[in-house]
Amino acid sequence: MIRLVTRDLALAVRAGGGFGLGLAFFLVVTVLVPFGVGPEAAILGPIAPGILWIGALLACLLSLDRVFALDREDGALDLLATAPLPMEGIALAKAAAHWLSTGLPLSLAAAPLGVLLSLPWPGHLWLALSLLMGTPALSLIGTFGAALTVGLRRGGPLLSLLVLPLYVPTLVFGADVARRGAAGLDPATPLALLGAVTLGCLAGLPFAAAAALRVSIR
């Protein structure tokens, strides 16, 4: 499993892997927000946690359709399915590789981008923490969505339609952690709930994704 993760990371980082794309998308979205709502810190500050969470969420979505589609096109998915690695392991490894190549860099980039949106000070740390805890759930849910749509010709738009409603709980709790943190309130409750969502996804979704994959490859 570790080998599959490292191979996917190597593929993402090498030429044509699209490693920096999600990050660049996140940056562009963040830069565009003040043009849309105005440059006043009084407006930007309160909405910054939510905007940054939504930006990160959309950036995550951007690379999801590649999770299984590339391996399906070149036949590697068939070969992986016959390899001595359970389908659940493949799904989990794919989600882990997706998180390491998108979720983790996004979480680290969010705090500096918070400065651009006048996020009040302690909020940066809470934002980074909430993303670190929440983006694994986004990757796991996205991997499940990618497994559902891997056999389809126009899977991309459908993938977004399927995955975005599933992102609601993660977004609600994650953005609330960042918002409470920025406002100086105690974010412990949403943080605990966010952790619960992520752990729940980790426990259940690899099985659902594996079931979908088995159907999709046959």
Partner: protein, 244 residues
């Protein structure tokens, strides 16, 4: 003879043929009766005036919107466990009906909310939860449409329905957490203390019965259509295989 024998398409078609017009008639009678009773023969609410009468559409539609998803969940489980084609087709048939019920609940809610809360839309937890449910229905239907191979489509949508159900419940609580809301408490419950007054209650029950019968009739009708479509698919297959 067990319930499972109706998983046989032939027996299912035979048993449901008379059921569709009967359920349709029950739905028509109940709806006409209940709505007429509710609209014309009940007093205006002392606080809400005549706007309260939208309850006769809003509450049954909302109830059926959730129950339709629940029915799809059960049908999906039956398909995954016992591989009865009728079950998968019934889940597929119920989805657009549930979608429509959700839409009715949302629109009547907006029409009701305008005079009551002074706004067409508020990000109230219940309304928001219904909007999310609406998106779930859209995704489910879109996945059915996108997958060409019938059994694969049934498998994938069933898995989506299961996972979606968990996330729908999760979203409901997340949304509650996120905004406490304006919506009044439940209109109906088994605990009679909190129910609406009897004058509103009885016509409402008749309307709910009408919606249940309407839902049953529509789902059966659509399931029968799906079974016929599947038979047509098989006939085309025969033609193709004879040509090959």
């Amino acid at each position: 003879m067990s319930l499972w024998s109706y998983a046989n398409p032939v027996r299912f078609m035979g048993a449901t043929r008379p059921l569709v017009p009967i359920l349709g008639a029950v739905a028509g009678v109940c709806l006409v009766l209940g709505l007429a009773w509710g609209f014309f023969f009940t007093p205006d609410d002392y606080r809400q005036g005549s706007t309260v009468k939208i309850i006769y559409l809003h509450v049954p539609a909302a109830l059926m919107a959730i129950n339709a998803w629940f029915m799809m969940l059960v049908a999906s489980l039956v398909w995954l466990v016992r591989r009865h084609h009728v079950s998968a087709l019934a889940a597929r048939a119920a989805a657009p009906v549930g979608l429509t019920m959700t839409l009715i609940a949302l629109v009547t809610g907006a029409v009701w909310g305008q005079p009551m809360w002074g706004t067409w839309w508020a990000w109230d937890p219940r309304l928001t939860a219904f909007l999310i449910l609406f998106l779930f229905y859209l995704g489910y239907i879109a996945l059915w449409e996108a997958v060409e191979e019938p059994d694969a489509a049934a498998d994938l949508t069933s898995v989506l329905c299961l996972v979606g159900s968990v996330f729908a419940v999760l979203s409901r609580y997340a949304v509650n957490f996120w905004n406490q809301g304006l919506h009044q408490g439940a209109s109906l419950s088994l605990d009679a203390e909190t129910n609406v007054a009897d004058v509103f209650y009885y016509p409402l029950l008749v309307c709910i019965a009408g919606f249940v019968a309407l839902f049953g009739a529509l789902v059966l009708l659509r399931t029968r259509t799906e079974i016929r479509a599947r038979r047509l698919h098989v006939l085309r297959l025969r033609e193709r295989m004879a040509d090959a």
